[in-house]
């Protein structure tokens, strides 16, 4: 275990200690103990910055399951370091925020911080793991801890609903992803991402390329709330606001982004990868931004805006993957998209985190998150309003904040697509920038709604539960202020990120494109002349403003008023349909009637044997080796058949017992005819005893009822019983015919020869029973004894009423 390993699992270790701290140190808010860890981790990860900036990587390995090729390998390059810094950095701020947000008297803080630390550790594991199986393990822990955090207030129905939904969707994706990883292993023989990238030509030429790609993308899309799997994210807003800020804006939802970026060197350059990711990302972008406009709840708007922004990053990764097709790192035409993706990833984490925190403050101070009840908070909560304004302006893409720069880069990348000249972009490529532009208008619109509906207009105290609305305590404001400052700093001096984080991350997403020793050179600047992108931004602002000003007109339309996402209906009806369908299916086959189950079994036996015999052409009838049949055998056989056939037609039970007994005695006669005296004797005695038994229980049995069975059911019974009889007859005949063709020698000769010599007895049957095969006999008498004890305990220990069943 190296220091890096301890750092990765340190949140889990601390999580073990949290309940003790909560229980024994009640005076201090438990969050303070937690706060230290992400801060230390953040500083620790900062120490890797010079390493990755030089283009180096760190690899630490600890074997876990060496026989399966699974080892706990941690790998730090630009991409994983970027994520690790995001996780620990925003983690610190969120813990600080939560200390003031959650009351130490009312809330179960031990649960909260244990879940949060579990999540933090799992997330670090996801981004740092080099081994796919280890990555999957941490991936599922993020799903589980996320569900636990969403259902933190588990007495609320909506919380558990949201947790369940997110669990179903993300675990579905996680399992698909595991399938994809397994296929990668099949193709390359290793679980290590580095080694897979080194053997990428094995993957590219394999027929499993497409299935593996789609399965892994399912994992990424469900986790990152991409269309149409985005529906769990708005429902996850039932979680406490620090959780929403941390998991559902900055970290967990970016796990899918991380996965796509990680897999780009493996799958990138393929047309399917390009089109699937770009189109799904753009669809998510536009669908999320349109849906966000319709929401009335602050956190719902932010949730849909997260969906939309994640779609934007995803589409950029899709567009950027084309760099592999051209294998050209110098040409900014192809790499701008990756640059924009990485840059926006950082920007989004900063402004979305601060926006969630301000939404939480507003909720905390006014008691509502409904924008129809809010208004005029600007003068009451000036700091919150300022931070919100900065965050929203960055999200809408206004200068001089960082969102403006990443949005400009986004437009550049999308416009560049039309110049690629591959993957048939010449026909459909123009769709991409147009969709991106429309989505940006809606982004601007919901940002404007968020700000103006909340902070301007008339203050409506009569609608609020809290009477005395005022600014939040300073502790709650620290984190959003820090994030808001970062928005401004990154906006004004974007190049402090360029050398430290963006270039190494780009090099990690696009390894093998650069010549050895070469580095990406990133220079983000504000002013790039009156180019197309600038006009697009101006258009966004202009049209967005018009839309916002005319809101009164279109806000009455049905489109605006319906808050529900149509895919929620699909999910709900699918979920209920599955439950109903399985109930119908179960009720149809589980009738509770033994005769139905017996019918299934018989039918299945007939079909299975019949198909198998037919498939292997095993039906055969051979009469050559049959013995001659004497007349008295015929007589016994015909009597036997008559007595057996008669039984089902008898309506009187005592007659049925006697006729069945007749059949038994005829069988004894058969044994005599076929020279088996021991069997005949036994059969005679057993039959006698069992008839006596029947007579005894007969006394207890009710009258044979005239059962009302439908004629169709009777017909089915008849057909199935005939089929079973015919099938068994055919099997016996075929076994006889084919068995006589093979050259087995029966072991009977051995018994005949050695019965006297080895066991000292002439009765071969008995010698076999007690000597050669004595063990069988011993266990059979055990069976007999158990049966007797069973009968005694059933009769003597009878319970009252229906309990004895």
């Amino acid at each position: 275990m190296t220091a890096l390993h301890w750092a990765t699992i340190s949140p889990f270790l601390l999580a073990i200690l949290i309940p003790f701290m909560y229980k024994y140190v009640r005076r201090i808010h438990t969050g303070w103990f937690v706060l230290i860890l992400p801060l230390v981790l953040f500083i620790y990860f900062l120490s890797f910055l010079p390493v990755t900036a030089n283009g180096d990587v760190v690899l630490r390995s600890v074997p876990w399951v060496p026989s399966l090729g699974i080892s706990f390998d941690l790998y730090i390059d630009g991409l994983s370091l970027l994520f690790a810094l995001l996780i620990s950095g925003i983690g610190t701020l969120v813990v600080l925020y939560s200390i003031y947000y959650l009351s130490k008297h009312k809330e179960k803080l031990n649960n909260f911080y244990v879940y949060l630390l579990l999540f933090m550790g799992a997330m670090l594991g996801v981004v740092l793991s080099d081994n796919l199986i280890v990555l999957y393990v941490f991936w599922e822990i993020t799903s589980i801890s996320s569900a636990l955090l969403i259902s933190y207030w588990f007495h609320r129905e909506k919380s558990t609903y949201g947790a369940q939904k997110s669990m179903y969707i993300t675990v579905f994706g996680g399992l698909s992803m595991l399938g994809g990883f397994s296929l990668l292993y099949v193709m390359t023989g290793t679980f290590s991402v580095r080694e897979i990238i080194a053997n990428v030509d094995l993957v590219a030429t394999s027929s499993l390329f497409l299935p593996a790609m789609i399965l892994i993308l399912l994992g990424a899309f469900t986790k990152s709330a991409q269309f149409p799997f985005h529906i769990w994210l708005p429902d996850a807003m039932e979680a406490p606001t620090p959780v929403s800020a941390y998991l559902h804006s900055a970290t967990m939802v970016k796990a899918g982004i991380y996965l796509v970026a990680r897999m780009t060197p493996i799958f990138g350059g393929a047309a399917e990868w390009f089109w699937i990711i770009s189109l799904v990302g753009l669809t998510t972008l536009i669908w999320g931004s349109i849906s966000a406009v319709r929401q009335k709840d602050l956190k719902s708007i932010l949730a849909f805006s997260t969906v939309s922004q994640l779609g934007m990053i995803m589409s950029l990764l899709g567009v950027g993957s084309v760099a592999y097709y051209f294998n050209d790192g110098d040409n900014a035409l192809y790499t701008t998209a990756i640059l924009a993706a990485v840059f926006h990833l950082i920007n989004h984490a900063t402004f979305k985190g601060s926006l969630f925190m301000t939404a939480g403050i507003i909720d905390h101070e006014t008691g509502t998150r409904d924008i129809r009840k809010l208004g005029g908070l600007m003068t009451l909560m000036p700091i919150t309003a300022t931070v919100s304004l900065i965050g929203l302006a960055a999200m809408a893409g206004l200068p001089p904040f960082n969102g403006f720069l990443s949005k400009e880069l986004f437009f550049t990348a999308m416009v560049n697509v039309t110049e690629y000249g591959i993957f048939s972009v010449e026909t459909w490529g123009i769709v991409l920038p147009v969709l991106a532009w429309i989505a940006s208008i809606f982004t601007f619109l919901y940002c404007a709604i968020l700000f103006f509906k909340t902070f301007t207009g008339k203050f409506q105290p009569e609608k609020l539960a809290v009477k005395h609305v005022h600014e939040a305590p300073i502790g709650m404001l620290i984190s959003p202020i820090i994030l808001g400052s970062l928005v401004v700093i990154f906006g004004l001096f974007p190049n402090i990120l360029a050398y430290t984080l963006i270039e190494p991350a780009m090099a990690a997403i696009l390894p093998g494109i650069l010549e050895p020793g070469e580095q990406f050179y990133v220079n983000i600047y504000h002013w790039h002349g009156f180019k197309l992108e600038l006009w697009m931004t101006i258009g966004v602002i202009a049209i967005g403003t018009i839309f916002f000003l005319t809101m009164k007109k279109w806000s009455k339309s049905a489109f605006y008023r319906s808050e529900q996402d149509i895919f929620n209906h699909v999910y709900d009806s699918g979920y209920n349909g599955l439950i109903k369908g399985s109930q119908v299916l179960t009720r149809a086959q589980m009738t509770g009637m033994l005769r139905d189950y017996f019918l299934y079994m018989c039918t299945f036996i007939v079909l299975l044997i019949g198909y198998t015999m037919f498939r292997y052409d095993a039906f055969a009838i051979n009469t050559d080796n049959l013995s001659p049949i004497d007349p008295y055998m015929w007589i016994v056989a015909i009597l036997l058949v008559i007595s057996v056939v008669a039984v089902p037609f008898i309506n009187n039970r005592i007659t049925a017992i006697i006729v069945a007994g007749v059949a038994g005695f005829l069988v004894a006669l058969m044994f005599t005819i076929f020279r088996a005296p021991d069997l005949a004797l036994t059969q005679l005695l057993v039959e006698t005893v069992s008839v006596i038994l029947f007579m005894l229980v007969f006394y207890h049995l009710p009258e044979l009822r005239k059962e009302k069975i439908k004629p169709s059911f009777k017909l089915i019974n008849l057909i199935v019983s005939i089929a079973v009889g015919v099938m068994i007859t055919l099997v016996s005949l075929s076994a006889f015919a084919l068995g006589s063709e093979t050259d087995f020698t029966s072991i009977a000769a051995y018994f005949i020869e050695n019965s006297k010599v080895l066991a000292g007895g002439y009765n071969i049957v008995n010698v076999i029973l007690v000597d050669f095969r004595g063990l069988d006999t011993m266990l059979e008498i055990l069976v007999l004894g158990i049966a007797a004890i069973g009968v005694v305990s059933m009769i003597k220990l009878r319970l009252k009423g229906s309990e004895d069943v």
Partner: protein, 144 residues
């Protein structure tokens, strides 16, 4: 007025003789098993039938007094016989259930073959008698 009991004298008197014959025959079947048709299973069933016939001729109490065996215990004893026959051969370093036989001279019977299969078969005999009677008597005594 006292209710008249049906008079079963003929049956009861003949049964005393017949059961003796059946017992003897069942014992013969049990011993004959090694060289002739018969054996523990058949002998046991025959003995059980003989006792059942006695139950038919007389009432429960009388027979219980006359044959004071607990048939359920008999099952356990029989199983122990069978298992110990098997274990005994292991004590001498042979596999489980290895049987031996030899011929001995006895004063009256002359040369007799004795085999370890006999105690095994006795176990079978006891289990069969015990199980058959336990089952049937349990059902017959059940008054509901």
């Amino acid at each position: 007025m006292k209710q008249m009991r049906p008079n079963d004298m003929m049956l009861q008197v003949s049964m005393r003789l017949i059961t003796l014959i059946i017992f003897a025959f069942s014992f013969y079947l049990f011993l004959a098993g090694h060289n002739n048709p018969g054996g523990g299973f058949i002998g046991g069933l025959m003995t059980a039938s003989a006792i059942l016939v006695l139950y038919l001729a007389f009432d429960m109490k009388t027979i219980k007094k006359a044959i004071p065996f607990n048939f359920t215990t008999m099952i356990g004893v029989g199983l122990l016989f069978a298992v110990f026959t098997g274990v005994a051969s292991m004590l001498f370093g042979f596999p489980f259930l290895k049987h031996f036989f030899d011929y001995f001279q006895f004063p009256i019977f002359g040369e007799v073959e004795l085999t370890t299969a006999l105690p095994f078969d006795l176990g079978v005999y006891l289990v069969v008698v015990g199980a058959a009677l336990t089952i049937i008597l349990a059902i017959a005594e059940d008054d509901k």
